[in-house]
């Protein structure tokens, strides 16, 4: 093979390598958890039921020890995601099954329920407007949408729970708290939501890992018209 041929092969190999690197980087950057669609078939004026759960460790995937949220699809299937398509100007009835334990809040201000309908949430059926994180099992997580001024603390299960769930998705046979509240979606747009309890175990200030990863303790409300 002549010098030109060898150069052509080298050039082609180099181009393929660059293409592979670019493809891998873009695939990584564009990877995202699935979005659960609550808009298909939704009739205007009717509320949407959104059921989610929090678990102390997801139990599978690349980070099995990470704490996480999961979402129940309209078809009743649990999906590891925090991205939801929701209809605009619609009442969202949230049911949150909290399977994780809690602790006193770093900032007790987050113990206040704000932005929900009636500025309350029910905890195992009991309405509350403030949770004293020092006087209960503590707060494990919050469900907070900062741009909409909505925040609900999620009371943890007892640290001495006899039947804690260790692998998601958890079912109601395990110890858990049921937290319910409602809020109205605003106009179309993307609204980030997150947990404000620094629950990233073993990360600086508890704010790394799952706290910094969409699909675990952060997500988006994708509100559509």
């Amino acid at each position: 093979m002549g010098r030109g041929g060898r150069l052509a092969i080298l050039g082609a190999l180099f181009a393929m390598s660059v293409g592979l690197v670019v493809f891998t980087v873009m695939a990584f950057l564009r990877s995202s958890p699935p979005t659960v669609d609550f808009t298909t078939g939704h009739q205007a004026g009717t509320p949407v039921d959104l059921t989610v759960q929090t678990v102390g460790s997801i139990g599978f995937g690349p980070h099995p020890t990470w704490v996480s949220y999961l979402t129940e699809t309209p078809g009743g299937q649990w999906v590891h995601t925090t991205l939801w398509d929701l209809p605009a100007h619609t009442r969202i009835n949230v049911t949150l099954d909290q399977y994780d334990s809690g602790s006193p809040l770093r900032n007790q201000q987050l113990g206040q329920i704000i932005g929900t309908e009636g500025t309350v949430a029910t905890y195992n059926g009991k309405p509350e407007s403030v949770i004293d994180s020092n006087d209960t099992n503590g707060v494990g997580h919050t469900f907070t949408i900062p741009t909409l001024g909505i925040s609900v603390p999620l009371v943890g299960i007892s640290p001495n729970a006899k039947n804690p769930c260790s692998v998601a998705p958890c079912t109601s046979k395990y110890d858990h708290n049921v937290i319910k509240f409602s809020f109205m979606t605003p106009g179309p747009g993307q609204y980030p939501w997150q947990c404000f309890v620094p629950c990233g175990l073993a990360y600086l200030y508890g704010n790394g890992g799952p706290m910094q990863t969409v699909g675990y303790m952060d997500g988006f409300l994708k509100v559509v018209a």
């Binding site: 602790s103 006193p104 206040q112 508890g206």
Partner: protein, 306 residues
Amino acid sequence: MSPRQETPHFRRLIAIWAVLTVVLDVVFYFAVGPHVPPGAMSSSASGQQTDFIVLFMIALPVMLAVWVYMAYALIVWRGSRGGDEEPEGGAKARGHFGIQVGWIATTTVIVLGVFVYGTVELIVPAGAGGGEGPNPIWTPTSHDVLPIQVIGQQWEFTYRYPTFGGFETRELMIPVDTPIAFHVTSLDVIHSFWAYQLGVKADANPSSDNVAYTTASQLGAFTVRCSELCGLWHGAMYNFGRVVTKAQFLVWAQSTERQNAANTKLLPPFSYTYVPDANGADGGYYPDNVDPYSNVEQYGATSPSK
């Protein structure tokens, strides 16, 4: 050609430069000046706006001197094919002592003047809206200062009003024509409190009380942003504050104090700094040399022994 008949390039340059400088400075002052950020919503903002205008009006003549000379040289002294030979040495290539001294003297005066002006502008408006640390050198002359604590945490700011029972809220409301002392701190990493239209910017460091002053002079909304890259939702760490009348502020503060009373009782005593909770929230973190269960400094934590 005799020296008397030579083209008066220097006088021409000075004339062009002077006319352009006067015209553009006046146009800038009246047409652009009122729109220069961050506006004039507060004492610190209007001070910064004035500073930007003054600095631009000082810089403009210097910039014009360079541009006018360059344009003049390109047009008047450009070479042409078949034209005169390029001068090589001689009188035309010699430096001009007067111009050199004048240039150095002028730029020195400008730089020293800007140095003095900038220093005075930091002192007169009580720190010009910047964070002055826990022991501010430049404080407002008024003794009637409203303290508001700004608490940064990943990823939101909350505000505590110690003169109204110490309630804490996500809303930032301030009264007009009242000196405000923002006490900025953080519960985790470094954030930066930037109330853009107020011209206030102060870093939020954990275990540090960074004080910044301002006095709002206009009613309306302003934007608060974190201006220190602080993690995943840094870009979403913003909210909006409002400047309201003193009467409206009083009504808001008293009603919020009542509404938040249940939660305010659960907050730690007001302190200018807090140590992040030691026993809470998996991964709690605090300086090694600080008692995380101190009655004064703990923030929401309860000692397991109590």
